[in-house]
C-alpha cells in the first residue's frame, strides 16, 4: 500500500531534509532459520532539521530510531529514500566525497564504553578527525586536542590517557570532543545520556546545550526518555515500529499529545512527585515484532482510543496535520482526510472523536 508522501514540518531552508527514508534488514533466525522476509526498521520516514535546532526522536526499543540516525549518516546504507544535507544529495556521494561530507555530520553514541577505542589514547581518538581532514597537524593538532578536551570539561593533560581510566560521564565527554573536532554543523545524538547516572546526565545535557548555543549546532536528538527529549528538543518526532506517528513542536506535543501511543507513553513516565496522582494509561501487551508488524495502524492492537475499531486494522493512517504544525497518524483523531464512508467500508463502527485523556501533571 502506498501512502502519499507527507512531510511533517517542512522548513523553507532546512539543513537536513530526509524524504521517504527506509532501511530494511533481512531476517534470518537461528541455525535452521531461512530468510524470513525483512524487518522494516525504518519505514518511509520524512523529516526536516533546521539550522541550529534540535529535533527530538523518541520511541521505545526496536522502533527504529537508532537505525534512522545511522542511515541518515550513511553508517548503515539506506534501502531507499532521499537525504539532502545543505542541498547536497548525501545518498549520491561515494568514497572520498562521502568522507569529506562527514566533516559536517557527526554522531555521539549511547554506550560510552564501546564508543572509544580502548587501545587509543583519548587524545588520539579526538585527533583522528583532525588528521583525516587535514584540519591540523603536529603541534597545532596537539593544541587543538587539548582545547577540545577543555571545552567539554576535561583537563588537557588527559589526552595521553586511555579510555579505561575514565568514568562513563567522562568518556561521553570524550565522545563529544571527538565529534566536535571536525567542526560539524549537525550531530546525531544517539541516546547520549541514557547510560549515565542522573547527576552525570545533567552535566552532559547542559554541555550539549552550551555547545549548541555557542556553535550553532543542529541536533537530531534520539532518546527513549521523554523528559530528556522535552528538555532538549525544539520539535519532536515520535516513532513506533519504524514510522513517525506524531510530530509537533515540543511544547504542543507534551501539552496535548494527539496520537494515542504518545498519550500512553507520556502517561507511563513515572513522575517524581508522590502527591500528584495521575490517571495512567497502561498499554496491554508488547510492542509487536518489526518483522511482522500489524496491518493498518501499527499501534491499533494496543490502542486505548475509545473510537478504535476494525478500520484501524485496515487503513494505514496517513500522517496528517491535526493542528497547525502538529502532525499525527491516527484516523480516529479528527480532523482526518480519510472520509467516514471509506472508514465504514473498512469496517468502522465509531466515528472519529477527539480523545485527550488528562495526562500531564502540572509542574
Amino acid at each position: 500500500m502506498t501512502t502519499p508522501t507527507v512531510v511533517p514540518g517542512v522548513l523553507a531552508d532546512p539543513l537536513l531534509a530526509v524524504r521517504r527514508l527506509t532501511k530494511y534488514f533481512p531476517v534470518q533466525e537461528g541455525l535452521f532459520g531461512r530468510a524470513r522476509g525483512q524487518v522494516k526498521a525504518v519505514d518511509g520516514v520524512s523529516l526536516d532539521v533546521g539550522h541550529g535546532e534540535t529535533l527530538g526522536v523518541v520511541g521505545e526499543s526496536g522502533c527504529g530510531k537508532t537505525t534512522l540516525g545511522r542511515a541518515i549518516l550513511r553508517l548503515v546504507e539506506p534501502t531507499s529514500g532521499d537525504i539532502r544535507f545543505d542541498g547536497v544529495d548525501v545518498r549520491a556521494l561515494r568514497g572520498r566525497a562521502l568522507r569529506t561530507m562527514r566533516r559536517s555530520m557527526q554522531i555521539i553514541f549511547q554506550d560510552p564504553f564501546s564508543s572509544l577505542n580502548p587501545r587509543m589514547t583519548i587524545g588520539a581518538t579526538v585527533r583522528e578527525g583532525l588528521t583525516v581532514h587535514r584540519i591540523a597537524e603536529g603541534e597545532a593538532a596537539d593544541r587543538r586536542v587539548r582545547q577540545l578536551l577543555e571545552e567539554v570539561g576535561l583537563r588537557g593533560e588527559y589526552a595521553s590517557r586511555y579510555p579505561h581510566e575514565f568514568s562513563g560521564g567522562q568518556r561521553q565527554r570524550v565522545g563529544i570532543a571527538r565529534a566536535l573536532a571536525v567542526e560539524p554543523r549537525f550531530i546525531v545524538c544517539d541516546e547520549p545520556v541514557s547510560a549515565l547516572d542522573v547527576s552525570v546526565q545533567a552535566q552532559v545535557i547542559n554541555l550539549l546545550r552550551d555547545l549548541q548555543r555557542d556553535r550553532g549546532l543542529a541536533y537530531l536528538f534520539i532518546a527513549h526518555d521523554l523528559s530528556v527529549v522535552e528538555h532538549m528538543a525544539n520539535r519532536v518526532a515520535v516513532m513506533y515500529l519504524g514510522r513517525i506517528v506524531e510530530f509537533a513542536s515540543s511544547e504542543a506535543l507534551y501539552r496535548e499529545p494527539l496520537m494515542p501511543y504518545t498519550q500512553a507513553l507520556l502517561s507511563a513516565v513515572p513522575v517524581p512527585d508522590p502527591v500528584t496522582k495521575r490517571q495512567r494509561i497502561v498499554l496491554a501487551g508488547d510492542v509487536p515484532s518489526p518483522a511482522n508488524p500489524p496491518p493498518g495502524c501499527v499501534f491499533h492492537p494496543r490502542c486505548h482510543h475509545p473510537a478504535r475499531d476494525a478500520a484501524c486494522a485496515a487503513i494505514v493512517p496517513p500522517l496528517e496535520e491535526k493542528a497547525p504544525g502538529h502532525w499525527v497518524a491516527c484516523i480516529k483523531q479528527p480532523p482526518t482526510a480519510v472520509p467516514w464512508d471509506v472508514q465504514r467500508q473498512a469496517g468502522a463502527t465509531h466515528e472519529p472523536l477527539r480523545h485527550l485523556p488528562v495526562l500531564a501533571p502540572q509542574a
Binding site: 547516572d197 547527576s199 552525570v200 546526565q201 547542559n206 527513549h224 517524581p272 508488547d286 502540572q362 509542574a363
Partner: protein
C-alpha cells in the same frame, strides 16, 4: 508507625566489603534499616552506591572476594540470617525471601522452559511432585498475567519479550508466598510502557498477597509512584531516610536535593539543569568524613573531619548530614547551578 513486633526484617550495621588484593572496597558500609510486614520500601541511589550489594547481602549471595563483615546483623522473622548455616539460608531463599533481578533477558536459564524454572521453586522448597509443581507453575504464570499460561509454560526464555520474562521472574519469586520480595531494578531494562505494566502488577500482587517489598531503583519517579518509605543511598551508606511524601517535600540531605534538581521532568521548562559536580568516587577511596563532601555545595570544615551520624529530623525522617545538626548553615543555596 507500626509497632516493633511488625518488624519483618531488621538490618543493623551491615557492612559488605570486597577484599581486592591489598585494597578494600567498602561497597556497603554500615547500613541499617527495618522493613515492616506488608510495606513497600524504596532504596534509591546511583550506580556504585551499594544498593545492589545490599540486596545480595540480605540473601547472602555475595561472592568472594566480597564478604559480609563480622558485626553485621540481618534479622528476619526473628532469626539471625548471618548465623544460619548454608542449608539454613538456602531454605530462606526463594521461600521466605524472594528476589527479582534487573536483567530479565539474562536472569532466566536459556535451556530450560519457563514452566520448569518456575516449578523448580516448588520442587526445591515444598518437595512437590513434578506434576504438582508444574500445576503450581501454571497457576503462578496465570497470576502474573501471562496469557494462555498452560501453553506458555512450555516456552523457552528466548521466545518471550523482556516484559514477559520479568513476569516469569516475578511468578518464580512468588511461588512459595514469601513474606518479603526484594526487587532489584526490576524495570530498568524495560521500555517505559512495559515498566508501567510491571509496576502495576507488583502493586496489585502486593495488595493481594500482603507481602513486603524492598524496591531498589535509581529512578526517583518509580520511588514516588510505588513506595511508602524511602532509603537514599550514597557511598555505601543510607544518607537519608523518610516517608516518601516527606522526602520529596523536604529533602534534608544535599545529595537528595541534588538528585531531585538534576533530573529533567515532564513539564519542566528550566533552561539548565542543576548538576551534582564530579562523579561517585570508587568504593576503595571514600573521602574522609562525609563521603559526599567533595561533591557537596554546602560542605565546610566539619564535613572533612567528622563523619556525620544519621541525625533524626522528626517524623521518621533522618539524614547523615551535619546540616541537620547545624540548620543555620542550611540557608537557601537555591538550586546550585553549575
Amino acid at each position: 508507625m507500626t509497632s516493633p513486633a511488625d518488624v519483618l526484617l531488621r538490618v543493623t550495621d551491615l557492612r559488605t566489603h570486597f577484599h581486592l588484593g591489598g585494597e578494600v572496597a567498602r561497597a556497603v558500609d554500615g547500613v541499617s534499616f527495618d522493613i515492616h510486614a506488608g510495606e513497600t520500601v524504596g532504596m534509591v541511589g546511583e550506580s556504585g552506591c551499594g544498593k545492589s550489594v545490599t540486596a545480595l547481602s540480605l540473601l547472602r549471595l555475595v561472592d568472594p572476594p566480597g564478604r559480609i563483615e563480622p558485626g553485621s546483623r540481618i534479622e528476619f522473622e526473628g532469626r539471625d540470617l548471618l548465623a544460619l548455616d548454608n542449608e539454613g539460608i538456602r531454605r530462606i531463599r526463594g521461600n521466605r525471601i524472594a528476589m527479582v533481578f534487573q536483567e530479565p533477558m539474562t536472569a532466566l536459564n536459556p535451556v530450560f522452559s519457563i514452566g520448569d524454572q518456575v516449578a523448580e521453586v516448588a520442587r526445591v522448597h515444598a518437595g512437590a511432585s513434578r506434576k504438582a509443581a508444574w500445576e503450581r507453575a501454571v497457576e503462578m504464570l496465570n497470576l502474573v498475567g501471562i496469557p494462555d499460561p498452560r501453553e506458555r509454560a512450555k516456552a523457552y526464555p528466548h521466545q518471550l519479550s523482556g516484559g514477559m520474562r520479568q513476569r516469569v521472574l516475578i511468578a518464580m519469586a512468588l511461588v512459595m508466598n514469601p513474606s518479603l520480595l526484594i526487587a532489584d531494578e526490576p524495570t530498568t531494562a524495560l521500555d517505559v510502557t512495559i515498566q508501567a505494566q510491571i509496576l502495576e502488577l507488583l502493586a496489585s500482587l502486593q495488595q493481594k498477597l500482603g507481602l513486603a517489598v524492598l524496591l531498589i531503583t535509581h529512578d526517583l519517579g518509580v520511588v514516588a509512584e510505588v513506595t511508602s518509605r524511602v532509603l537514599v543511598m550514597y557511598g555505601g551508606q543510607v544518607v537519608e531516610r523518610a516517608p516518601v511524601r516527606e522526602l520529596f517535600a523536604n529533602p534534608r540531605h544535599p545529595y537528595t536535593r541534588g538528585l531531585l534538581q538534576a533530573m529533567p521532568r515532564l513539564g519542566d521548562h528550566r533552561d539548565r539543569l542543576a548538576v551534582i559536580p564530579g562523579t561517585v568516587p570508587p568504593p576503595t577511596r571514600w573521602p574522609s568524613g562525609c563521603r559526599f563532601r567533595d561533591r557537596c555545595p554546602y560542605a565546610w570544615e566539619r564535613c572533612a573531619t567528622e563523619a556525620p551520624p544519621e541525625y533524626p529530623a522528626g517524623n521518621g525522617h533522618g539524614a547523615r548530614c551535619h546540616l541537620v545538626d547545624e540548620p543555620a548553615r542550611d540557608v537557601a543555596l537555591a538550586a546550585p547551578v553549575a
